[in-house]
Amino acid sequence: MSESTNGHPAKNNGVDHDNAPVRAEPGPSHTADLGFGEPGEQNLSHGPVELPLTKADFSSDQETRWCPGCGDYAILASVQGFMPELGISPEKIVFVTGIGCAGRFVYYMDTYGMHGIHGRAPALATGVATSRRDLSVWVVSGDGDLLSIGGNHLIHALRRNVPLKILLFNNQIYGLTKGQYSPTSEEGKVTKSTPFGSQDHPFNPVTLALGAEATFVARTVDTDKKHVAQTLRAAAAHEGAAFVEIYQNCNVFNDGAFDAVRAKGQKELNQILLEHGRPIRFGPEGERGVARGADGRLQLVDVAQVGEDSLVVHDAQRAEPSLAFELAHLAARPTGPTPVGVFRAVKRPVYGQGLAQELDEARASTATEQLEELLHSGETWTVHS
């Protein structure tokens, strides 16, 4: 009854592994089509890598224990599949998780990992990332963990711009504790703890992150492998804190919550794919779009009626977050047309940039003499024998 957490090159156990080697060489094929640079460029400090790394190099040998059909499986496969692209040795990567179904994620990655206590993953990860700038640090958390008990740590990690990649698995429910409403559950939600319907107004995680001055905010959908990988790529390329909301279906306690943007036949109609520098349009033929109305507000329009020139051109790199906010507010809930992609990606000094190195160098040059001098600082006097 024990789950191994420490195996070496993965023995595939039930996860849908794609073992085809993925070359970890920088190149145009790995550059996100979102225009935020290339992971390899920023991660030189992570050191040389033995190539080629494969998905298997990042998959631990243990049995995944999520409910069959859980959206977490798809995300795990996407993350494991994406990792070789980072071009970073697995031992230089640290995953940090909190409590909840998403918390188990860390045991399935064959990297270094910490499974912390409820809500505190961003703080644990801040300790890792700020003391060791040679590591690539990833936080995986759920909506209860990250937005309820851990809300404080999330907003502060974002405002500080700690170099963390934060993946929020949002399923709008508490799964591990068996089905209570979460801070992203809709008003009126009937759950075990709200038999008469929840009265709580939910968070929109994207607007929360934007409000916390996050420099990178994106949203994707668990089963859209390609878009998940694209979003991870952009997040990895971002220097500083990257916040990625992933709509994740909990097929046991909240099945179908994201059908409008996830189910075949609906997602084609409702996913508003945000691409930096391009007019925002959606629908099977791109026949719908986002335009600014006479009252100054964003609205959903038929492109044929307003003309392509009237469409809003997405600008994720705008310094002030107003457009990102407006886009996030196009859909209060993912029940109709809902933007996915990178809302915002701006440059701001990374927390502690240069400091870890400065301190390492300072320490390297510290010897007994300096300590002696420190102890003797201030007013001293000598007593002779």
Binding site: E91, G103, R363
Partner: protein, 619 residues
């Protein structure tokens, strides 16, 4: 003005010890006055101990009793151990200072008041019905009325750019000058300090210098004070000394431990009184690679330190009582992860917000047991300001070599009070070997919970090839570290976690029993050390009593010989600044009915308190 032999005709009396208390409004600069006087005293070579006492309010309404800030210094020509129970001299800058502090002053003691502070308005504000300088309320004391404010204003009136308001604010330096003269303190350290402090503002520099000199000269020339005193240097072991308070010593100890272990010091803290001072002190030492983070809350601070520890740093978080409550769950995580983490708790009076600036030692049981589940960890307690240095190194040694969180207990009294510290030689400090794992430890695999002879697990830090592993708060199988809910494994792990802490090597309890025939042992822990030792010396000297003393520095595990020591005395008295927490532990562990003396008034245990308790039992 010189500090050399006085050419006046005033009487010079030699005394062996004195306790002076400076008191004024919290805006009057009494802490500064006290610490300047302390530096000058240290330079003389007197032994000394200090006790700042300030309100929680930064600026309480001026002139009110709850805005009074005080600083007490005890200095002597012999070895002393506490800041003194009762001041011999009180310097009161206003009626509020007088009304709140007078009750502590010994009968017949000296009271120097700033006469200018005693306006009718201030007298009423302090709660006096009539001016205490005009009625008989000070008949038991030698009162000296000095118009400090007006004399300061007069001394500074020729300085350009100084308003009379600025000038009045320098009156604390006048008081410093006056008391410096009274006790023959050298003026150079204070002058040097003023010159440096006000380097940027020559008018303020000159005004403060003028005020200081005016106070000194007033003592020398005015006929009011007929006597001044001389306190010879105290005999002390040869060496270089500096004056240090508990916070400074703790900061230096952590830096020294970082140097000695080669581990980068990473301190994450959230502002809280009185532990913030440690954050301030350490944040100045980037030169030693010290990384400090002011976290968003206490929980984050503990987690950041733990994350840093996982990454191969010396992870430290520091707080005071309320913050300990918040860190409890994270400390439990560190117990499960078996990672080195030092948690500093500078105890203050509780419960809840309690009295943030007042001392207490009531977090012992929380340190020992205050987490859910069986979650044992080592607990070390500092006993004097300078001992905070050694205690910090000891806490780090245990944490690093045993891969465990360690709680280091200090308290508000230790943190703020100061004493001369004979500096250790950096070259003689103990080395601490982090012993990072670098290679697989089991048939080419890495087992993160495979233990050494101390039952400590390997510390494998990210970036080490071949040792990738995941750890967390879920119960894990011994050796492999795999998650396990097996009944027998949890039973095994629970006992193993207890055993490995019980195996931490701790020095024997040293007993001071000079006569060898004492029937009573006074057993202390924490900051009561000075009071207990001081009381024992006086009781032996003055009352001819035979008594033994011992001080517990490791609260978990307890010293190996403690039971034998306790059993070898008919009676054991345990003074504590709580309602008997160590007593409870000793009774529970050894079924020995120790006698508990408790005090929870926010003040340190005084020598007098311990003396009375012993006298009651032995006389």
């Amino acid at each position: 003005m010189a500090s050399g032999p006085f050419m006046d005709e005033k009487t010079l009396e030699k005394i062996d010890r004195v306790v002076v208390r400076f008191a004024g409004d919290s805006g009057d600069g009494m802490q500064l006055t006290g610490s300047r006087f302390t530096d000058a005293t240290a330079v003389v070579g007197n032994d000394l101990a200090t006790l700042p006492d300030f309100p929680a309010e930064i600026r309480a309404p001026a002139g009110t009793p709850h805005g009074v800030s005080a600083f007490q210094i005890h200095f002597a020509s012999r070895d002393i151990l506490t800041p003194g129970d009762h001041p011999n001299v009180l310097v009161a800058m206003n009626p509020a200072a007088l009304i709140t502090q007078l009750k502590a002053v010994e009968k017949g003691g000296v009271v120097i008041v700033n006469e200018d502070g005693f306006s009718d308005h201030n007298v009423r504000k302090a709660g006096y019905e009539s001016n205490p300088l005009e009625d008989d309320s000070l008949d038991d004391f030698q009162v000296f009325r000095v118009p400090m404010t007006s004399m300061t204003v007069r001394a500074t009136e020729d300085i350009e750019g100084i308003t009379s308001r600025d000038a009045a604010r320098c009156k604390n330096l006048f008081a410093l000058g006056l008391v410096s003269w009274m006790y023959g303190r050298p003026t150079e350290p204070s002058i040097r300090w003023i010159e440096k402090k006000f380097e940027e503002s020559p008018p303020l520099r000159d005004a403060n210098l003028a005020a200081f000199r005016a106070g000194y000269n007033f003592g020398e020339t005015a006929e009011l004070l007929a006597v001044h005193y001389e306190v010879d240097p105290a005999p002390a072991p040869p060496g270089t000394y500096r004056n240090v308070n508990g916070t400074q010593a703790l900061a230096l100890g952590l830096i020294a431990a970082s140097v000695q272990s080669g581990l980068g010091l990473f301190l994450a803290s959230y502002p809280i009184t009185p532990a913030s001072e440690l954050l301030h002190a350490l944040s100045r030492h980037r030169r030693f690679g010290v990384h400090t983070v002011q976290a968003e809350d206490e929980i984050a601070a503990a987690n950041m330190a733990l994350g840093a520890a996982f990454s191969g740093r010396l992870g430290v978080t520091a707080t005071s009582g309320p913050g300990m409550d918040l860190k409890a769950e994270t400390i439990g995580l560190a117990v499960a992860m078996e990672l080195p983490l030092v948690v500093v708790d500078i105890q203050r009076a509780g419960p809840s917000t309690g009295m943030p600036t007042k001392t207490e030692a009531a977090d012992l049981l929380m340190a020992l047991y205050g987490r859910h589940g069986e979650s044992p960890l080592p607990v070390v307690a500092a006993c004097t300001p300078s001992n905070c240095f050694d205690s910090a190194i000891e806490a780090v040694r245990i944490a690093v070599t045993h891969r465990t969180p360690v709680i280091l207990l200090s308290d508000t009294f230790l943190a703020n009070s100061s004493e001369p510290w004979r500096l250790p030689e950096a070259a003689n400090l103990p080395d601490i070997d982090p012993g990072f794992a670098t290679e697989p430890n089991h048939d080419g695999d890495f087992m993160p919970y495979l233990r050494d002879e101390k039952l400590a697990r390997p510390w494998a830090i990210p970036g080490t090839p071949g040792l990738r592993h995941r750890i967390g708060g879920l119960e894990k199988e011994d050796v492999t570290g795999n998650i396990s809910y097996q009944p027998e494994n949890h039973d095994h792990m629970t006992r193993l976690r207890a055993e490995r802490i019980a195996r931490v090597e701790v020095p024997e309890l040293e007993v001071d029993d000079p006569d060898g025939g004492a029937s009573l042992l006074v057993l202390g822990w924490g900051s009561s050390y000075g009071a207990i030792e001081g009381a024992a010396r006086r009781l032996r000297r003055e009352d001819g009593l035979e008594l033994a003393t011992a001080h517990v520095r490791h609260l978990n595990p307890l010293p190996p010989n403690i039971e034998d020591v306790l059993r070898s005395y008919e009676r054991v008295l345990v003074p504590e600044m709580n309602l008997g927490q160590l007593s409870k532990v000793l009774r529970a562990e050894f079924l020995i009915d120790v006698e508990s003396y408790t005090k929870v008034d926010g003040l340190p245990i005084f020598t007098r308190d311990v003396m009375e308790q012993v006298q009651e039992r032995l006389l």
